[in-house]
Amino acid sequence: MNGIGFVKGMLVTLRHFVNTYVDDLRYGFRKYSPDVDNFETRQGTKAEGAFTVQYPEEKLAMPERFRFVPFLVVNDYDHPEAPGKDWCTSCGICAKVCPPQCIWIVRSNDPVTGRPVPEPEAFFIDIDICMNCGFCAEFCPFDAIKMDHDYELSSYDRTTNHVFDKQKLSKEFKYWKTIAPTRAVEEMQARGGWEHKDAQKAARRGGADAGKDAKREEVRARKAEAAAPTAAPAAEAVAEAPKPAAEVKAEPAAAPAAEGARPWEESHDQREARKQAALARKAARAAKKDG
């Protein structure tokens, strides 16, 4: 109790204080220059002095495993065969494994046969509810949903902007390769190729694939027909150019007309009506199955 301990403590503070300036003198203005070579040292195990990152001028690139609100993987938009095709098969595992239950999927059904088509009709994530746990990406058997690195999602109105639909969620496969190169390669090895599992299976089957493609085209055409009365121009575009790319682009126009542009803005009655319609469809399907 003679003040020596206190003085010693102050020396520690002084050391920290000096170190901050040593760092500044060592790097000078290079500290914040665009082609930073000292960033790694300043942020690594050898760092001394101030360790602050001057956000938003400096933005830390996230490590590969970093997880933020998920996105849906789609084929590259310059993919030779199926540009922009969803990797998602709407199997629903992500929706089931989601702890806060923020994933909503509408499975698409063939309008004539009523059979499910391996492609989601609509896909929503309520990012206000998402807890960024990464289970959806971890348990997806098709590598179709991945955790993003884009953490700047704030907006001025949470009531309308924070339910992400399929269009907003979809990102090219190329993007996943840029943010997580190592993992993309690991997953490729597990899948056996860069393509989607199903595409590879189809390729392996060879001849059989053509028939499947034709069938897909047929389903697409039927879907367009079903959507035609409500969204004629868009549907025609789809029918005339039944290329997958066109379909992806047309969907926001075609599907919302049938389902309501912003389902989260609907009134309670509308929602009820839609629910009843869905139930009726379901009952009809069940009846058909029984009969």
Partner: protein
């Protein structure tokens, strides 16, 4: 009470203790024969005697957890009843003596055990609050997490929350007809909210505040209050919090002061209550792992660990599952010890804030924490909400490199070799920081004069109040679960239990300091183990829809803040279930607050803040 070695004739295995107990109470104690259950069932009217016998004769002096379970309607437990489950331990080590008391659901009443273990105080209040079990003889049976005037008991199985959708997740509305809506837009005051039929909602008045203050003796006749000098004096009730920077969150203390001296203090909590346990019972087992991160968010790795241990105990009762590999255990210990260091750096830093060293020390420690969190981020994907552990595995092995890639949004890139990073951290950086902390504070005159002899808690009180972690060890009780009831690979690791005998704030600080050094010692032993287990599988074989066999389990770990326990019950009409029937968190931050009033009595107002800081609470865990 002098702490002596227990009578060797009386100390034996749990089986001996149970046999002894049954011999002493042949008609009132019986084995719990339900499938997957253990321990004994005690008849309610003899509970108090049995508890005293367990504490005094059998020497199970530490009541770790007391919680309720509502058995309603499921086929496996045919008759509906409420059940209190107690886990008692010996502070000399060993596993739990589990005893249970059953009562009727409608007229739920049991004798209070506060007279035997004061640590039962808050836990019984919680059971009353959430389950509606009345405890006869409890000195202060009030709601603790919900507010007075709340109608119903939310943990009861027939109680439904405001945005109730269905009994269990996953919800059917999400797939395959997942037409999105925002839960906020539903009418909260629909059929889910219950209130008494005679109440007029427009004329509601909240009496809980005035009730609380009444207990503090407001309106005392001050003419009769004179101090020793014959001067008329009055006692003052001061409310501190919930919005107060020193309470580490939304925590509130109501104190009665005589001058500046505290004569009575009562903690008020629940401002961050979200009924974590109810959410947990709606969730599947897997869903709960990321939710545990949000309890004590400073050390989420430890939270994960306790929960997976509990569920792994259940899985071991007969599910098809591969137990964790050696590397899995090594990785878990690595993560948990790193988060213990993080936790103690944080605790000491903010305790100094409370002492008045405003933010200078805490920032030095946070800098070290940053590096550790960077490591967590690279391995688990998130800095704080790690969600790293799985049943029988972990999320993923260590990456080769801690590496980030430049992209359009973020341009500052780092690239380190993971093992080299860990080696430099564990061998150089962390020990250097701890030494610096030691040099900085341990001998500081201000720290010493503020903290020595303040906030005293004796060893027997600490045990009786069910204090845990540095609070217990700072009072001279060498009780560390890693040694007393070992789990994971701790038995083969070489480390000492940090213990100090003074029982004051300084002792708790020293315990944390020593414990960080011991953690570094463990980490140094982990490094070679990481090298030679390279390549071993660490992934979990548990499927997303995995089922858990029937039974109960209590998994507990020594977390930074103390004993963190998870009581998980799997029950159902089938052989196994996808959702826990009961999911209870024995939160050290919550139970360590039980002795707060006791420790603060007689101290000055300014010390209260520091005493609270020396307990080290996180409100996410306190309020759950």
């Amino acid at each position: 009470m002098v702490l002596t070695a227990p009578d060797p004739n009386k100390v034996g295995t749990i089986e001996d203790a149970i046999a002894d107990l049954k011999a002493a109470f042949p008609n009132d104690v019986s084995d719990d024969k339900r499938e997957g259950y253990g321990g004994v069932i005690v008849s309610a009217d003899k509970l108090l005697e049995v508890a005293s016998y367990i504490r005094d004769t059998l020497k199970f002096d530490y009541l770790s957890s007391a919680t309720a379970v509502d058995y309603l309607g499921e086929g496996h437990h045919s008759n509906d009843h409420m059940e209190m489950v107690y886990h008692a331990y010996r502070t000399t080590g060993g596993s739990a003596l589990v005893f249970k008391a059953q009562t009727d659901r409608e007229k739920a009443e049991l004798p209070s055990l506060v007279s035997v273990w004061r640590g039962a105080d808050f836990q019984e209040r919680e059971a009353w609050d959430l389950f509606g079990i009345r405890f006869k003889g409890h000195p202060n049976l009030k709601r603790i997490l919900m507010w007075e005037g709340f109608y119903g008991h939310p943990m009861r199985k027939d109680w439904k929350e405001a945005f109730y959708e269905s009994e269990h997740k996953p919800f059917d509305s999400r797939w395959p007809e997942g037409h999105v809506y925002r839960a906020e837009e539903l009418n909260v005051f629909g059929s889910n909210v219950k209130y008494p039929s005679d109440i007029d909602l427009s004329r509601l008045t909240d009496k809980s505040e005035s009730d609380l203050y009444t207990g503090f003796g407001l309106g005392v006749d001050m003419t009769h209050m004179t101090d020793e000098n014959g001067i008329q004096t009055d006692e003052l009730v001061v409310n501190m919090g919930p919005h107060h920077p020193s309470t580490h969150g939304v925590f509130r203390m109501v104190m009665r002061l005589d001058g500046e001296t505290i004569t009575h203090l009562e903690p008020v909590m629940g401002y961050l209550h979200r009924n974590h346990e109810k959410i947990g019972e709606r969730n599947t087992y897997l869903h709960n792992i990321p939710f545990t991160d949000r309890l004590d968010y400073i050390s989420s790795m430890g939270n994960n660990h306790g929960y997976v241990l509990a569920v792994e105990q259940l899985l071991a009762k007969g599910a098809k599952y591969t137990p964790p590999t050696y590397r899995t255990e090594v990785l878990r210990v690595l993560m948990v010890e790193l988060s213990r260091i993080v936790n103690h750096l944080w605790a000491i830093g903010f305790w100094l804030n409370d002492l008045g060293a405003f933010f200078t020390p805490v920032l030095y420690f946070v800098q070290e924490r940053e590096r550790i969190l960077d490591f967590f981020e690279a391995v688990a994907g998130s800095r704080m909400m790690c969600n790293y552990m799985r049943f029988g595995g972990v999320f993923a092995d260590l990456p080769e490199r801690i590496k980030s890639t430049m992209n359009l949004m973020n341009d500052r890139v780092r690239d380190f070799d993971t093992m080299q990073f860990l080696q430099e951290m564990i061998n150089e950086r962390i020990p250097r920081t701890i030494d610096e902390l030691d040099e900085y504070l341990t001998n500081s005159d201000i720290v010493q004069s503020r903290s020595k002899g303040v906030g005293y808690l004796s060893a027997e009180d600490a045990i009786n109040f069910s204090a845990a972690g540095p609070l217990l060890r700072g009072s001279g009780v060498a009780y560390d679960i890693r040694r007393a009831d070992p789990y994971s690979i701790y038995p083969e690791l070489d480390f000492d239990v940090a213990v100090q005998h003074e029982g004051d704030m300084y002792a708790r600080y020293m315990v944390r300091l020593i414990e960080m050094r011991e953690s570094v010692r463990i980490l140094k032993q982990i490094l070679p183990r990481l090298e030679y287990t390279k390549g071993e599988s660490v992934t979990s074989s548990f499927a997303y829809s995995g089922k858990i066999p029937l039974g109960e389990a209590y998994g507990r770990v020594e977390n930074g803040k103390g004993e963190l326990g998870y009581y998980v019950v799997s029950a159902g009409d089938k052989k196994n279930t996808a959702n826990p029937w009961r999911y209870h968190v024995r939160a050290p931050s919550f139970i360590n607050l039980t002795p707060l009033g006791h420790m603060c009595r007689g101290t000055k107002v300014a010390d209260v803040v520091a005493i609270l800081g020396s307990i080290d609470i996180v409100l996410g865990e306190t309020d759950r």
